[in-house]
């Protein structure tokens, strides 16, 4: 079945991102298709490559990047939410006159329409948040 996922909280602060990851991984392992994972609200912080968690802890950001690579996942970060919270890719950094970008591998920044499209295209949409 084709599933869509929305993640509404950042890494570490809430379990939402961990739950979404564990769910997504289990769904993929069962042979389901993940149409898209959409990161909204503070969930956009799952996409920063600048996190440095302690070595004995999970690396939430890298874990998403690796899953994306393994399964060719579409990880989409909401542009409006990302801009508010300082999450930028190279294009956005340039466009807004910022001196750095911080998006991690495997994520892309796009509009809220991508969430609606996930709702339309996926057979089920599951929201993980606080």
């Amino acid at each position: 079945m084709k599933l869509g996922i929305m993640v509404s909280e950042g890494p570490y602060q809430h379990q939402a991102s961990d739950s979404a990851y564990n769910f997504t991984k289990a769904a993929l392992e069962k042979g389901h298709e993940i149409f898209r994972v959409f990161f909204y609200h503070d969930g956009v912080n799952n996409a920063t490559r600048l996190t440095v968690p302690p070595q004995d802890d999970r690396n939430v950001v890298n874990r998403w990047s690796e899953l994306a690579k393994q399964y060719n996942l579409d990880l989409v970060v909401c542009i409006a939410a990302a801009q508010r919270r300082g999450l930028l890719d190279a294009n956005e950094a340039k466009r807004n006159g910022k001196d750095a970008d911080n998006i991690a591998e495997g994520f892309r920044i796009s509009g809220l329409g991508q969430l609606i499209e996930a709702g339309i295209q996926a057979e089920r949409l599951v929201v993980f948040g606080d």
């Binding site: 509404s8 939402a16 564990n22």
Partner: protein
Amino acid sequence: MTLHTVNKSPFEANSLETCLRLARSGHNVLLFEDGVYGASKGTRFEALITEAMQKQNCKIHVLLPDFEARGMSTDNIISGIETVDYAGFVDLVTKNERVQSWL
């Protein structure tokens, strides 16, 4: 059929109460994250859960990895509640027509 997910402790938020007020007969409810505390016997929410299962005919599930992570004893789960793992969570999502997250 709807899958309702509840991720808040019933002591912290009214998500479980609102969820059960609006769940219909035959619906599935999954308690996960801090929501798992609602699955234990002896809390002041036990009657609410039991009533939802018996009178409303709701099926209640608890995500075992979240329950165990919190040191909660499976011997103490309210009878009638089923435990699921993440694969079981996925099955609940696919077998219901929609998922309503009570954040």
